[in-house]
Symmetry: C2
Subunit: 454 residues, 2 copies
Amino acid sequence: MQEILDYIKKNEEAYIEELKELLRIPSISTLPENKDDVNRCANLVANKLRNAGMSRVEIFQTEGHPLVYGEWLGAPGKPTVLIYGHYDVQPVDPIELWDNPPFEPVVKDGNIFARGATDDKGQMFMHIKSVEAFFKIDGSLPLNVKFIIEGEEEIGSENLESFINMNTELLKCDAVLISDTALFGPGIPTITYGLRGISYMEVELTGPRRDLHSGTFGGAVGNPINLLADIIAGLHDKNGRITIPHFYDDVLKTTLKEKDNFKRLKFSERRFASEAGVKILQGEKGYSTLERLWTRPTLDCNGIIGGFTSKGAKTVIASKATVKISMRLVPNQDPKKISRLFTKHIKDMAPRSVIVEVRDLHRAYPVLTPLDSPATIAASKAMEEAFGKRIVYVRDGGSVPIVTSFSSKLKVPVVLMGLGLDSENLHSPNEHFSLKHFQLGILSSALFFKKYSK
Amino acid sequence: MQEILDYIKKNEEAYIEELKELLRIPSISTLPENKDDVNRCANLVANKLRNAGMSRVEIFQTEGHPLVYGEWLGAPGKPTVLIYGHYDVQPVDPIELWDNPPFEPVVKDGNIFARGATDDKGQMFMHIKSVEAFFKIDGSLPLNVKFIIEGEEEIGSENLESFINMNTELLKCDAVLISDTALFGPGIPTITYGLRGISYMEVELTGPRRDLHSGTFGGAVGNPINLLADIIAGLHDKNGRITIPHFYDDVLKTTLKEKDNFKRLKFSERRFASEAGVKILQGEKGYSTLERLWTRPTLDCNGIIGGFTSKGAKTVIASKATVKISMRLVPNQDPKKISRLFTKHIKDMAPRSVIVEVRDLHRAYPVLTPLDSPATIAASKAMEEAFGKRIVYVRDGGSVPIVTSFSSKLKVPVVLMGLGLDSENLHSPNEHFSLKHFQLGILSSALFFKKYSK
């Protein structure tokens, strides 16, 4: 094993050059004009898998962007791990805020800067390189490996969802390994065992048929913007609790053991506030910041618009006002049920002077993975050995919709071994990935294969 | 006098053709590309005044668009009336909703359709034609007349304001006559004696320094959109009363006589709701719709924006949220004081987790003109005779900022003898003006000159 780890360390420079090839392709999944780039990136990933030693590599076309599949099943009797990742990236705007062109990767102060560096090309590539190291040194892997690398993570993974449903035999495995989350802090080995779900809604109020003169009609007709504000304000009580009836019915209580664990994490509220760019933190009464982020559901407006919004003044009563509202959900809340409760509550609250329309835009289930599965234990030990530090177990406030599909359709544990950092500007200008974590990730991956095979 | 009235009736067709000349000029004051058209329109108005018989006509250049001044002071010992109007018009978008091009006037079903038809070219022109009729028949006017016709009413009358301040001697008169308001209904002679004022504000909340991921940060930071909704919702109580401390301190109580008058007006709530395009009306508890519109102050959001407002879903906590809020004010509220109270209250209400900025965009004083001035009495009798019906006295929910300047600087009563209708689409597509009211307006103007001269 030491020989493999040494080989990985020795090849750091070569790995970075190879990663740059991937990062140079603008595989922005949401933009039609980048469709060829996305295809080109899928082909490059397939080549990387072939060169790494996978015995079967296939590109599956979908209604959207292609899925890249790879497998090596030469270890009968040994467990099979399915590695998931994505090769598509977010758009780059606002482009003027980038210090370097987003698709011309540069290394600076121990980080590689490019769109997709941490989310998720850099992280996905770690596993391809650890597999390759085994083949170079041992000529084989200690267990069976499958890869499924998609090109639609940033646009909802819809085609992967149906692919999983129709290919449970192909994807059959004993555990799923995903590196698309964050370390708790630089150099801290971390397993993420909880993700929040989401229910994303849109509410539109229509009052007058057309915009009205606020002098001629003001005071005598319901104003959709004011009434929408009333509705939004009514969704929280003065303690920051959500007022939708039955909203909290299914929320799993945090165990004392988990609370103890949170306390031991030495979370810095001050650093978090500074990362968020706020003077003071604010949230539901009676909970710490970590509890608010990881164990409590939220309700946030994501966007609002109505009436005259240009510079200056126009004396108008708007015909319509619209708000996007998303609720982050925690185990065991069901996003379908929450969407229903939300819709009913909004309709109950809206006054008769407006027509209310509630639209369900998208949703994801919350996730809580078992910490005692052999795969999770192997991943924890692998990271501890690679980092030389005690593992920490964290949850994440965000959502990874596909995780639920893996665990519910394949009925296996999902291990979230992320090597990113929340501060690495994913989805923002100047995205980057720590090269130290890149190497630690490859080492962790190799150690995981070895430990999990036993 | 009968000869003059007959002359006016006989010349209806010619007057309409002349009005079309004015309506063909796209004198949109807010658009820089129409500056030449605005100048052209000022010149045409000046020519019309000259042809009508004014002995002195002058175009005053301002920092913005020109003012057209005209006078005939050949009746020493008789009262002097100052007629105000404006030759500028609103923009025409959405242009696709017009049935005919906005600057190609057409007559249809007894109305003339064009931008500016009712607001205010058609109404202002009535007085020029009535003056002309006197000169054609009698060779003189029974009193002294001054005209001040501006080109910036639709953009705030700023230069007229300072012109009045600097030219009180030139504009000296016994009464101001304005036709830029509406009849209470078709064929009903109407004097408007009250206007609401306005205080137009903008509130901007800033939370995080940049937009944040709602998964990573949601639940632990103040969300500017949610907090802005809280503030807006808090500005009214459950009875629809405004909660700003001292907001109602200066509100003049409606007299019993006025309330009686309102009842006699036979206001149709159903027709009003249908004009507004709403199913049901809504407003402050304890007041009728007319009272709400004419005698009670309001607080309406005119526009709101924040976060992600395009199609689809983006899981973001916005850095900023902004709302435009205007308050319609009634006598004797002072817009400066109200802006101060509003600003203080918003700052008091905003939580510490956001930075709040309040901007004062513009304001106008409310107006209440005396009903017992000789000019108002003359105007009432003139309209009654022209229409053959009892005059009604109404207020208007809108604001005409310049009215206060006339009454406070020139210290004379202002008579609002409007011939428009609220349903004539001023500021909207398919603006029009009733030709029957156009003729009744010219007759009323002529009768007013005669009656007021006695």
